[in-house]
């Protein structure tokens, strides 16, 4: 296990390094010059040069990248902004704030959105999926299967707008989506996020229902399930101790990857409900050519996916004794 973690962490670091380098290169391949934008309408070559220096983009590309990397580990000194302690992701071109602060400020929103909806869709998705698998071929299965097919083909921006219109504007049942930090007021935190949770969960529940059902149906047809029945074990025991054990692995794998992705920011969800999470931050960073911000957000998103990949593999090894970590 230790070897596995060390090896995979090293691998993850390499991946993140490559991603950051790629973003760097792609950014400079783009036709727009951030210094020109920051410089404003009346821009002399001298000011432009000064702005470049201030933004830290006057040096050649490799030097810039190296400076940025160094900042991550030992911090960085800017002529215009002063000291930026490690881990330093630089200063935003846009609002001149440290990138890390902005990300830390936005991350709780994204985290709340992801965790809250995950809890809901895991419980309902797996529950319905298992029920459908038990009642395979019966009415309940057919209803669950077709309902989840419909739900999973819907889009968040449709359901989200519709839900807000009905639940909030028309029937006044729930609050309009907004974010209050959990530490400030847990009740308000939950109230403000209820609508996005419901909408996000609806679609994901459908996916997890379908996945759970098919995994369970497959597991139930395994030879070892037949053996368990031949031993005289009850249907219930066989279902939970054998079939579910077999179906669990793939479901946890997908869940881990999904969660990793959600934590990187759900762009469409956030924009549908006007929540200021990492997704919105990245959209803004792209549209304003804010390289340090973009790098920061991309790194967090990629990091979340990479970390959850490692977690998923480790958990899988715990579930399935055939998997050896190396």
């Amino acid at each position: 296990m230790f070897r596995f973690l060390v090896r995979r962490t090293l691998g993850a670091a390499v991946i993140l390094l490559i991603i950051s380098a790629l973003v760097f290169v792609l950014f400079y391949a783009a036709p727009r010059d951030p210094a020109r934008i920051a410089c404003g309408k009346v821009c002399t070559p001298e000011t432009l040069e000064l702005v470049r220096k201030n933004l830290g983009i006057a040096d050649p590309l490799p030097v810039q990248y190296w400076e940025w990397l160094k900042g991550l580990f030992v911090g960085r000194d800017y002529t215009s902004f002063g000291r930026c302690d490690a881990p330093c992701l630089g200063y935003s071109f846009q609002n001149r704030e440290p990138v890390l602060d902005t990300i830390l400020d936005r991350f709780p929103t994204t985290l709340s959105l992801a965790i809250g909806s995950s809890v809901v869709y895991l419980i309902f998705g797996i529950g319905t999926g298992m029920l459908a698998a038990v009642k395979q071929g019966k009415a309940l299965d057919k209803i669950a299967s077709s309902a989840s097919l419909i739900a999973s083909s819907m889009q968040i921006y449709v359901v989200g707008v519709l839900a807000t219109y009905l639940l909030v504007d028309q029937w006044h049942l729930l609050d309009r989506a907004n974010y209050t930090p959990f530490t400030d007021n847990p009740a308000q935190w939950a109230q403000g996020l209820l609508v996005p949770w419901l909408v996000l969960s609806l679609i994901w529940t459908a996916n997890y229902t379908r996945m759970t059902r098919s995994q369970m149906v497959e597991a139930l047809s395994e030879d070892y399930v037949r053996t368990a029945r031949a031993k005289g074990l009850s249907r219930r025991t066989v279902f939970f101790r054998f079939a579910w054990r077999g179906a669990m692995g793939p479901i946890i794998t997908i869940f881990g990857l999904d969660l990793g992705m959600l934590l990187g920011g759900a762009i469409i969800t956030e924009s549908t409900f006007s929540l200021q999470g990492l997704g919105m931050l990245s959209v803004k960073a792209v549209s304003t050519n804010d390289l340090p911000m973009l790098l920061g957000v991309v790194l967090v998103a990629a990091g979340a996916i990479v970390v959850f990949n490692i977690i998923v593999d480790a958990v899988y090894a715990l579930i399935d004794p055939r998997v050896r970590l190396a």
């Binding site: 070897r3 060390v6 090293l10």
Partner: protein, 347 residues
């Protein structure tokens, strides 16, 4: 044995599959010694049987001969031409002469192609245009393997298992090969169908003079089909001989044990003295030193552990009957002891 150059001459053939591992940098830490130093020849028009239990390397050998795998060491000479490390281009002319038939007639045919397309595939790839056209040739081939030529446009799923294996045979015959490597061609089939396919292969071999390397675990089927038989154990040939010599007077203790373990559908013949081999085949990652069979052999001594027996002729045996054993069985061998029931003592 004929003195002419053999169709296929294999010497020292070895295939080791590397095992990756280690920390923190992954590297090759060992090897599965799937095939380890095989020497044998196949002559024109003859059928050589390769028998052995799972993991003995017989299928790997088949894949090496057809160059689906790259040998680790050794030499494969086909009609005087060294093809051991021949690349795609150099292999092209040989590929058409060496064909393969696989075990699983379900998996080895493309389900989206018609039978006609499947069988003419090899001709297309090799740019061969038989007189009268490819379709005519395919119909001939279907006829030869006992299928209805009218079924030219059908898909594999419309055929039964036995018929599918016939399609596989027709495909192998399309290029008029000189050598066919058949890897367990009948073991997935029902008993009654097995016999149909064995008969077909025998007819093909005789009438067209095609040489076969016939790989199977069923000793009776191999005996029926092959003029010469090689017995493999853990990547090595332990005994090779003409059919009658091998089945009539096996020299290697493993050959004898293997033969005695085959259940026969007869209640009339006196029950053969069954030798109970104990334990399982050891891992090919770290095979036993010396003779690889020694851990399961009732005759093993220290010599067997220290010295690998060469594949050589035992005095009094026919030429070409080679055995790799320090203590070969003799005609009047005392019956092997009925070993006690501690199957994994050696494991």
């Amino acid at each position: 044995m004929s003195s002419t150059t053999p169709l296929l001459d294999v010497s020292g053939l070895t295939k080791h599959f590397p095992i990756k591992g280690g920390f923190p940098i992954r590297r090759t830490v060992g090897a599965v010694q799937a095939v380890d130093g095989l020497d044998f020849q196949v002559h024109e028009g003859e059928s050589l049987g390769l028998v052995g239990e799972s993991g003995c390397g017989k299928s790997t050998t088949g894949r090496l001969i057809t160059r689906l795998l790259e040998p680790t060491a050794g030499k494969i000479v086909y009609r005087g031409r060294d093809i051991t490390h021949a690349d795609r281009k150099q292999l092209a002319p040989v590929r058409s002469e060496i064909q393969m038939i696989f075990q699983d007639p379900y998996a080895s045919l493309n389900p989206r192609q018609t039978v006609g397309k499947i069988i003419s595939g090899p001709m297309e790839i090799n740019g061969i245009d038989p007189s009268g056209g490819r379709e005519k040739r395919v119909r001939e081939l279907l006829e030869i393997v006992g299928l209805n030529p009218e079924h030219y446009n059908r898909f594999p799923h419309e055929f039964s298992g036995g018929q599918r294996q016939r399609i596989g045979v027709a495909r192998a015959l399309a290029l008029e090969p000189k050598l066919i490597v058949a890897d367990e061609p009948v073991s997935a089939l029902d008993v009654s169908i097995q016999a149909q396919v064995v008969n077909l292969l025998q007819k093909v071999q005789r009438e067209m003079g095609i040489a076969f390397v016939f790989i199977a675990h069923d000793l009776a089927v191999v005996r029926h089909f092959s003029q010469r038989v090689a017995v493999m154990y853990l990547g090595k040939i332990v005994e090779i001989a003409d059919r009658d010599d091998l089945y009539g007077s096996p020299r290697h203790p493993y050959t004898r044990a293997l033969l005695s373990a085959v259940p026969e559908a007869s209640v009339d013949t006196a029950p053969r003295d069954r030798i109970r081999l104990t334990g399982d085949v050891p891992s090919p990652i770290s095979p036993p030193s010396g003779c690889r069979f020694r851990t399961r052999c009732w005759k093993a001594t220290e010599k067997c552990a220290s010295e690998a027996p060469p594949l050589a002729r035992v005095e009094g045996d026919a030429a070409g009957h080679l055995t790799a054993c320090h203590y070969p069985e003799t005609e009047q061998t005392v019956p092997a002891p009925r070993l006690a029931k501690d199957p994994e003592a050696a494991a």
